[in-house]
């Protein structure tokens, strides 16, 4: 210990004090994730969901504008014709196939902006991990909002002539 005379314990004690203080007197910042979840912000964009009108009909009319707007080509839409016996949406057509590849999707929200009926909306679910690639493809049934009452489910039979517009005129519930 040749440098013993020059040994100065003050800086070391200062450093130890910092550790001591932050260990015992500062609040814990760790979020215990699986048990405790931090709320997402209002503008957070997570997993999509397809919305319904108040009467339970689907808002999506299968126009595929979301697929056109998607920069990652993550959305695949196939439309079919509605009729009064088998009616999904108030418009002329509905999306018979609606698939989003969550692995391709970059959650930019352009589909939300492009949608003329505000059918697609990015929700707040972010826990998307898969062990197979095929699990990442979310189909129409997984994306559609669930209905509370049985008579609001689609498809359903409606009286003829109730919906005669190709683009629905129904006002939005919110």
């Amino acid at each position: 210990m040749a440098n013993f005379e020059r040994f100065n314990p003050i800086p070391i004690l200062k450093g130890l004090y910092t550790t001591f203080h932050s260990t015992f007197f500062e609040p814990v910042v760790t979020v215990q994730y699986p048990e405790e979840k931090r709320p997402v912000s209002k503008r957070f964009r997570g997993r999509h969901h397809l919305r319904r009108y108040d009467n339970g009909l689907e808002k999506c009319i299968g126009c595929a504008l979301c697929a056109a707007a998607c920069p990652a080509d993550a959305i695949f839409v196939e439309a079919s014709e509605n009729n009064d016996d088998v009616r999904f949406s108030p418009g002329e057509r509905y999306a018979s196939t609606y698939e989003i590849n969550m692995m391709r999707c970059i959650f930019c929200g352009y589909c939300e902006d492009a949608c003329p009926t505000q059918a697609i909306e990015l929700g707040d679910q972010y826990e998307l991990s898969f062990t197979e690639r095929v699990q990442a493809i979310y189909t129409r049934d997984m994306l559609l909002d669930t209905v509370d009452e049985l008579e609001k489910a689609t498809p359903r039979k409606v009286e003829p002539g109730a919906f005669d517009r190709s683009i629905p005129m129904m006002e939005n519930p919110d």
Binding site: V31, M103, R104, I106, E127, T131, R133
Partner: protein, 160 residues
């Protein structure tokens, strides 16, 4: 299961060696952080005190393949970088797992072009894909827990 019920409360439990080994593997899975792009920032945030991967026995998120069990590929993998990833994977000792973090590592994401590998499963076998661009730290932790569930279902005769 049966023994301690027959013998009464002797202060021990019986289990299968396979379950114990799998449990041990999930409790201390040291990751190799292979940060390639913006997802690496979220990966670092996951290691930081706010989310703290150490809670899952993953203290050492470092670029050392010889001591790693889990390869965390976060970000877009260019074709130039692909041999490096394969080399790092080959240098890891068995048992080893791969987690593709983010859209780009999982399947190329928005970069559908000639320069980016369309998913790192062209190069290495992937166990868990985490979607998101980039995934939140919670999403990465969720992916790690999905991997833990997968590891717990492994059986001895598949250990190669």
């Amino acid at each position: 299961m049966g023994l301690e019920q027959k013998l009464g409360d002797f202060g021990f439990v019986t289990t299968k060696l396979q379950d114990m080994v799998n449990w041990g593997r999930t409790r201390a899975m040291w990751p190799l952080g292979f940060g390639l792009a913006c997802c690496a920032i979220e990966m670092m945030a996951t290691q930081a005190p706010n989310y703290d991967l150490s809670r899952f026995g993953m203290e050492l998120l470092r670029a050392s393949p010889r001591q790693a069990d889990l390869l965390l590929v976060s970000g877009r993998l260019s074709r130039k970088m692909a041999p490096v990833l394969r080399k790092l994977y080959d240098q890891m000792p068995d048992p080893k797992w791969v987690l593709a973090m983010g859209d780009c590592a999982s399947c190329g994401g928005v970069f559908n072009n000639y320069a980016i590998v369309q998913g790192i499963d062209e190069i290495v076998p992937v166990d868990v894909y985490v979607a998101g661009c980039p995934p939140r730290p919670e999403a990465l932790i969720h992916g790690i827990m999905t991997l833990h569930e997968k590891v717990k279902t492994e059986v001895f005769k598949d250990y190669a």
